[in-house]
């Protein structure tokens, strides 16, 4: 078996197994409220971080505006699901499927539009443009008002639309007050969507296009010289990344009942980037593991005692710093080498069993 295939099988199989275990425990009612709640959120963040890994890891470009795509996915899907719910008679699963797809399509379209200029840039310039893009998306949805009444849809920019029929008024987008969506996201939906997204990402990375992207990442000029249409492949990966981020945004929106555009700010982009970087660039498995650990950690610290609860963000920060050092500081690299050498001597078999589980 090829190494890539084997690697992908481990990641996909491990994720499926983990989800299956959680699913069974949940169905049996053995999971407590917090863990059940967390699985949904973490699942959504995994979708977001693996999609960002496509841009940052595979394409090799630092994108600081990933939350912008989630924002588009979130708000466009909320618009669709609210309107369909208002119509009535449409089954919930159809509403949700259409909403997620619409969110993905909107984010993809935006990905193409923003990608056309952005994918001509590289490095720092690209990072700055994506940073700006994320902020623009947030501000845009901060100013859009959409209200439905008996006469149809009314659109307002910076101010709510006027002359609305008060009796049939339904506010869909409320500018800075955000929007609300029916709470349709649950564990099973997230699990299914997560696996589908993971499969798409793996197939893309292991395809001709994916390898072209990696060639561009590793040596831009060499890739160009062998006839790879650099901008095309970069645009393709960027758009796919945006679309999946849109899916994450749609799920996120439908998991919380209300959402403000403010949520999709620079901090969220950075948070997801942290998951990708600490998980390892280009490694989907790494992103999944890092997201689980880094998201669950501060929440699980709640369970210890009130003093820890008060200091948990401090502990989280210390762990982040430690992880960074562990990955990059020469001292720790040496230490790891030494430990590794020891394990090799001992031929310890018990350590290897851990890898496949996660």
């Amino acid at each position: 078996m090829r190494k890539v295939t084997k690697n992908n099988l481990i990641t996909f199989g491990g994720t499926t197994a983990l989800l299956a275990v959680l699913g069974v425990l949940m169905a049996m009612g053995k999971l407590n409220n917090m863990v059940s709640g967390l699985t949904v959120t973490i699942g959504i963040y995994i979708i977001a971080s693996t999609s960002l890994n496509l841009t940052v890891g595979v394409l090799g470009e630092l994108s600081l505006g990933h939350a912008g795509f989630m924002c588009i996915g979130a708000f466009s899907s909320a618009t669709v699901s609210q309107m369909l719910m208002n119509v009535g008679g449409v089954p919930q699963w159809l509403v949700f499927t259409l909403a997620i797809l619409f969110g993905a399509v909107c984010a993809a379209i935006m990905g193409v539009l923003i990608g056309i200029p952005v994918m001509r840039l590289r490095g720092d310039y690209l990072a700055i443009v994506t940073l700006g893009f994320g902020e623009i998306m947030k501000s845009l949805f901060n100013n859009i008002y959409l209200t439905q009444d008996v006469n149809g849809l009314h659109f307002g920019f910076t101010n709510p639309p006027q002359n609305i029929d008060a009796a049939t008024k339904v506010e869909i987008l409320r500018g800075p007050m955000g929007t609300s969506a029916p709470g349709l996201t649950n564990f099973w939906v997230v699990a299914a969507v997560l696996l589908v997204c993971l499969l798409i990402l793996m197939m893309f990375i292991d395809s001709k296009s994916g390898r072209a992207c990696m060639a561009v990442r590793d040596n831009y000029i060499a890739a160009q010289s062998v006839g790879i249409n650099v901008t095309k492949f970069r645009l393709m990966a960027f758009t796919l990344s945006a679309a999946i981020a849109g899916v994450a945004g749609a799920l996120y929106m439908h998991s919380l009942s209300n959402m403000l555009p403010k949520k999709f700010d620079y901090n969220l982009s950075i948070l997801i980037l942290v998951y990708v970087v600490l998980g390892g660039l280009g490694s989907l498995r790494g992103s999944i593991i890092a997201t689980i650990i880094l998201y669950a950690l501060p929440e699980l610290l709640r369970n210890i005692n009130q003093e820890i609860v008060n200091a948990r963000m401090l502990i989280y920060a210390i762990i982040l710093i430690f992880l960074m050092l562990w990955k990059n500081a020469p001292f720790f690299i040496n230490l790891r080498e030494k430990i590794k050498a020891k394990f090799k001597k001992d031929k310890a078999t018990d350590v290897t069993s851990g890898g496949a589980e996660a």
């Binding site: 983990l18 425990l25 053995k30 999971l31 407590n32 409220n33 917090m34 863990v35 059940s36 709640g37 967390l38 959120t41 902020e135 501000s139 901060n142 100013n143 910076t158 500018g175 800075p176 007050m177 955000g178 709470g183 919380l256 009942s257 209300n258 403000l260 555009p261 403010k262 949520k263 390892g280 498995r285 593991i289 890092a290 689980i292 650990i293 669950a296 929440e299 699980l300 709640r302 369970n303 005692n305 009130q306 003093e307 609860v309 008060n310 948990r312 963000m313 562990w326 990955k327 690299i333 790891r336 080498e337 430990i339 590794k340 350590v351 290897t352 851990g354 890898g355 589980e357 996660a358």
Partner: protein, 413 residues
Amino acid sequence: MKNLFKRTAAAAAAAVMAMSLAGCNNAGTSSTASDNYGGTGSGDIAGTTSGNGGKLVIGGIGPITGGAAIYGTNVKNGMQLAIDEINAAGGVNGMTLEMNFQDDEHDPEKSVTAYNNLKDKDMKLLIGTVTSGPCEAVSKEATKDNMFMITPSGSSVNAITSGDNCFRMCFNDPQQGKLEADFIAEKLSSKTKVGIIFDSSDSYSTGIKDGFKEEAAAKGLEVVVEEGFTSDSNKDFSAQIQKMVDNNIDVLFLPIYYTETALILQQAENKLDVPVVGGDGLDGLIGVLKDKVALADGVYALTPYSATASDEKSVKFTEAYKAKFPDADDPIQFAADAYDCVYAVKAAIEKADIKDANISSSELCDKLKAAMTQIEYAGVTGDSKWSADGEVTKNPRVMQIKVTDGKGSLVDL
């Protein structure tokens, strides 16, 4: 080397999973499991022998880290003060109260996690959440579970509209805007041309502004300029201030928080000399202006409580708070709201005659939501009554900042 890192990470992931699964055990255990978590880190609660009725766990959720931490900390302290007082006086109907307060970082997502966590720790009712956005998310969950909740300070309309299990201690945003328009129309009757600077990216600010404009039109006030800013451009207000000057406004209405207000006051010095009226967001203005406090002289603020207010109940609360938390800053209205919430809940529990802390949260909710509409509670923030939709009725209180000898204080008119 790379491989080993992966292995370590995998082992850590497995450990985390194990930890989280270990947490599951708590869900099944009996109602007294909460002891392990130490109520609030306060020895005096743990030391009290619980009454015959057992321990009733009151959950609290709010930001105690991050930018809004001051609000959550005040609510936490206010709750703790009230709960300790009640327990010292023998509890409620033989039951001892116990608080478990969780941080939400002013984030709806974290807030829901905190709520789920509290449910696992046998929470019977919720005081919270502190801020509006998270409150909207948590209230939907609470309605699903039929969990009684009362927010001390979540002021957006939607914070409590998800069901009849939700109540509120403060005014909602449009209500506050309306009251402020009434105040300007009645007390500053010669001032009819109003200028507004508001934060268009903030639901609190926009909500008050909308309520204000509606009432202003009805009361014959004219909103001549309405200038928005966003949380990304909240440092330079010269353009907005110039518009106010150009339009000759009589009164400046600031439905915003104190940090921006302080900047506006400083930048408007010597340019704009009109009365300034603000909402409860101005609580904290004196502290942030420091030696420039003279700029705030005469500013009106609609706020239910101030640490420098001289009425008997406020003074008593302020002294008790300072005695209990000598290291903390002076309490702001959030602390008073939270303190009142606990006592209002106590009054409702007594009214509903609940004696056993082992009651299920849903049954408790049914009884409390009926009792809440029947009680009248005279608290630090005013004499309050609740309607079935959860909104409070109490007298609005407008205070004014008075500066004497370089020291500012918020006093009743």
